[in-house]
Symmetry: C2
Subunit: 339 residues, 2 copies
């Protein structure tokens, strides 16, 4: 059995209904192993021609709609929920729900939540189908559960670049259900409240505090190192949902007004090899996916900063106001190009 529920029958139904003859399939890295069998199934059960999109893809910020505009009728995008962007061709979003059992982890987390009555419940896309179940388990144990719809995200859903669903909730603590430390780190830094992680993959329940302290020490060190920088590279991603060129121009001006130099470098996916060529640059500011500067810091020789960290470097923001970077969407102006 697959670890994910893709609902391919539903996809095939939509393809037939839309009468789509040419289809592109897009998968995040972890789901690409299923690409060829899904392509086979769709081709054999419809009259369509299928192209698998092979570029790396980490979010709905990165739909290949512009690229595929005149080549296919629809894109089927797996594993992410839509962002408030204007996609140029129809995109079927297939939420790949994990089949992992989350009950045990949540029950285990109750001990860590002892003493907290009002709980902010948060998860990521692949567990949204069991959000109600999570809530019920907590409520049965007497907790009051708070869920909030974010800007461009569902109730209780955070993304690596969007924490709007957890802000300003009247809660004592947050319970994050999912894997990894990045999302709970963001919740911690935005709310300053206790954050408990119920991780069904590792099977453990842990607090974010230790990780959060460690990351803040690393970030502080990067900021100190970047304070000596005279030449900055401001990196912009050309991915539709990460494209913050106006922000980059704004940061460039800020750097220049501080008597330092800056160039804007645009690329699709950012990696250490691509930045290696710019030997005379001392530090990079990443306006693309906010995870890159934090998660991938050790892969890069030179410090990578978020826009907010650059403000600290240039004395425009106090370290005590440290904030995670977010890519803010609103309904009128797809991407707000400022911090």
């Amino acid at each position: 059995m697959l670890n994910y529920d893709f609902n391919i029958e539903g996809v095939i139904g939509k393809i037939k209904k839309l009468n789509a003859a040419k289809i592109a399939l897009q998968f995040p890295e972890g789901l690409k192993v299923h690409a060829t069998s899904i392509a086979d199934e769709i081709e054999s059960k419809t009259n369509s021609k299928v192209i698998i999109l092979g570029d790396a893809c980490y979010g709905a910020c990165d739909i290949a709609d512009q690229e595929m505009m005149n080549l296919v009728d629809i894109i089927v995008h797996f594993g992410h929920t839509p962002l408030p962007l204007n996609y140029k061709i129809p995109v079927i979003f297939v939420e790949a729900y994990s089949r992992i059992n989350i009950e045990d982890s949540i029950k285990k987390s109750l001990k860590n939540l002892d003493g907290y009555n009002n709980i902010g419940l948060v998860t990521t896309t692949q567990h949204l189908n069991v959000l109600k179940k999570m809530k019920t388990i907590l409520e049965k144990k007497g907790k009051k559960v708070f869920l909030k719809k974010g800007i461009g995200t569902s109730e209780g859903q955070v993304l690596g670049c969007n924490f709007s669903a957890i802000k300003n909730l009247p809660v004592d603590a947050y319970l994050f259900v999912g894997s990894g430390n990045f999302h709970p780190l963001g919740i911690k830094l935005f709310t300053k409240k206790p954050v408990i992680i119920a991780d069904p993959y590792m099977g453990d329940v842990r607090s974010i505090d230790e990780f959060s302290d460690k990351i803040l020490r690393v970030r502080f060190a990067k900021i100190v190192k970047a304070s000596e920088a005279n030449n900055f590279g401001i990196v912009v991603s050309s991915k539709e949902g990460q494209f913050r060129l106006e922000l980059a121009y704004h940061l460039k001006e800020m750097i220049q007004k501080s008597g330092k130099k800056a160039v804007i470098i645009m690329m699709n996916s950012i990696n250490p090899t691509l930045l290696m060529a710019y030997r005379e640059l001392d530090a990079f500011v990443i306006t693309a996916c906010p995870r890159i500067a934090i998660d991938d810091a050790n892969m890069y020789e030179k410090p990578l900063l978020t826009p907010q960290e650059l403000e600290v470097v240039l004395d425009k923001r106090d370290w005590s106001n440290y904030e995670m970077d977010e890519i803010k969407y609103d309904e009128n102006k797809n991407i707000i190009n400022s911090i």
Copy 2:
């Protein structure tokens, strides 16, 4: 002194003449080290805003015109000559001519050219400015030199995907001036004539024969291995000048008619990590840059084939008719999507 002559003053003149306010600079990998200083110089001497394009770039097949259409007024592309493509915004091509001395190598090559009177002279973009000088040296030694303009290339110029400038010349041997073995390999395989390499970088003069024999043995081994394949991935690049989707459809049909399975996978740049996800595929056919299957063969776990090699695998072409892959351009139909 720079190893290349970029003629930045000329570029600045053109920028002023075109009144360009927003400019993107694109460099191949080897020239990216000069990107920030050139960006600085252009910004300080014009009223323009400059963006450096940071994605990997290996040829004029890969101009970012579509991507930058509404973002900049012009692209300045360094190091490659234009291909017969319809660029969507003005592109200034800056041929980055190498300042390396080629005279000694050519003089040295005369010994190897002994006995051959009619010489086909060939080089790559970065030495086109000294083509006449090369010709003169050879002529002074009594050689008759043949040069031919290719389809989409200058007189005496070959690309990794375009050998039209060397075909059907009434010569006894070819002299290739430049680095690497890929281009002379192509000349050898297309013409079956002696090919001498005058390599000013290595400082040596050599025949392609040994390398050519070695590569043919490797290719034969890949073809034998791929003959056992049941599942093929046909890889298409979305780069404008490498985009051969129609060819991919044609190859898919050919594979299916042979009772085997095939999927089409589209990506921008091809690399081993991106192909690793497709565990159930046994071999890949690369319709993108013809160099990938040959030059990068050892980086990939599974055999990569050129379209012509696939024909050998499927018994549609005899091994004795082995041919390098080329991306053929004509003036009417940008890219000819067939072999």
